[in-house]
Symmetry: C2
Subunit: 224 residues, 2 copies
Amino acid sequence: MFDFYLMEKRQRALTLPRAAQTKRRTRIQLEKEEVILEAALEVFANHGFRGATIDQIAEQAGMSKPNLLYYFPTKEAIHRLLIDQILDTWLDPLREIDETGEPLVEIKSYIRRKLEMARDYPRESRLFANEILQGAPRIQDELNDLKNLVDEKAKVFKKWMDQGRMRKIDPYHMIFSIWSTTQHYADFDVQVQAVLGKKANGDGRFEDAARYLDQLFVHGLKAD
Amino acid sequence: MFDFYLMEKRQRALTLPRAAQTKRRTRIQLEKEEVILEAALEVFANHGFRGATIDQIAEQAGMSKPNLLYYFPTKEAIHRLLIDQILDTWLDPLREIDETGEPLVEIKSYIRRKLEMARDYPRESRLFANEILQGAPRIQDELNDLKNLVDEKAKVFKKWMDQGRMRKIDPYHMIFSIWSTTQHYADFDVQVQAVLGKKANGDGRFEDAARYLDQLFVHGLKAD
DNA sequence: TGTAATCTTTACCAAGCGGTCAAATTTTTT
DNA sequence: AAAAAATTTGACCGCTTGGTAAAGATTACA
């Protein structure tokens, strides 16, 4: 999952943290790196990259700032690693869309999975949203991989449309609409809860959202 | 449009900028305040509140930092004013939905207006998104007004549904889906353009989006 | 158990930050 | 044109921030 030597190869780790100069990964390193990433996720998601401070992350992780910097060379290195992990798992549901399946069933379960991710991993979604919102300065390469995957799946949708198995619409914008409607419940949760008021109790809003999105997309996309 | 005395009443201007101590608003004040707000919009939209510095805003506005602080007491005061202005114009399209109109026509034109705003005022959208994403720490009051407006319009949709003039769905989540799909083109523009590649030339993506969203929502929401 | 490797802490630094102050300059008013 | 009011500037302050250095404490291994 995590490997400094890998990261070093990838780029930019001009300064190596001292923990990486060790002969091999120790038990403590594995544990602390995990703790730090979890803490950083919390802090980055709530304050953005610039708004987050190493001190905050260190406190959340229950250690001192220099101690944290023993494991990661810079604040940016932590952020970068998180983004990479997130983007990867974030795209899993899209990868799983099965060309040989039934179009509307596949799309419905894609939406359901995306909504579950928004419910279960809101911090990851917000961290990513933060990055895109500010022009994605640190993830140009990753956006390229993203494009390739979307291109591939857009072809699948196009084929289904040509076969008359779903409405002829723009597959790219269809994907955008699925991303935006589902991630909205993670990224804009404060607003959603403020608007729903008491109606937002527990995870009820996610069940309501699932029902609504199902109706919207099934009727919106099914062949006439 | 802008009034320090109003802002002062509202709250927090503990320190008044010296420009506010003037006997009346001068020509120069009106001009410079405008320039500063425009510059601040640009900088806040691209870097978020914490990521933006007064120096950056001042440079964008073509003046020195102390000079800028002659017109506004704090960085937060500028931000607050922008947010208030934005939220107000942002909700105009929703206010304009006409209870006496034809449901699908009203909803279609609401979507079109929202999409036009995403196209024409992307910085405003991103500034607002930034604020919500980070828990809306500075706009609790405004979220309340928002809730009231949405409640009111939800009732209208409900009435239309009871009259059998549109599909029975959850009106709140319908509004969320319109917000998210349209604002996506402003907030996540970097990602949209990266995915569309060459296909994203000019404003073509907005026209494609308009066509797609029209199909999605019309078929998704029309009575069977 | 002793020693080498690893981990943690204390003290620190330089740069960046939001914001102030008083003096100098420009604009408006008389 | 002089006086008053308003605007601009440069120098500065205290705090926060990302990150470092070196010594001390702990752990792993022979």
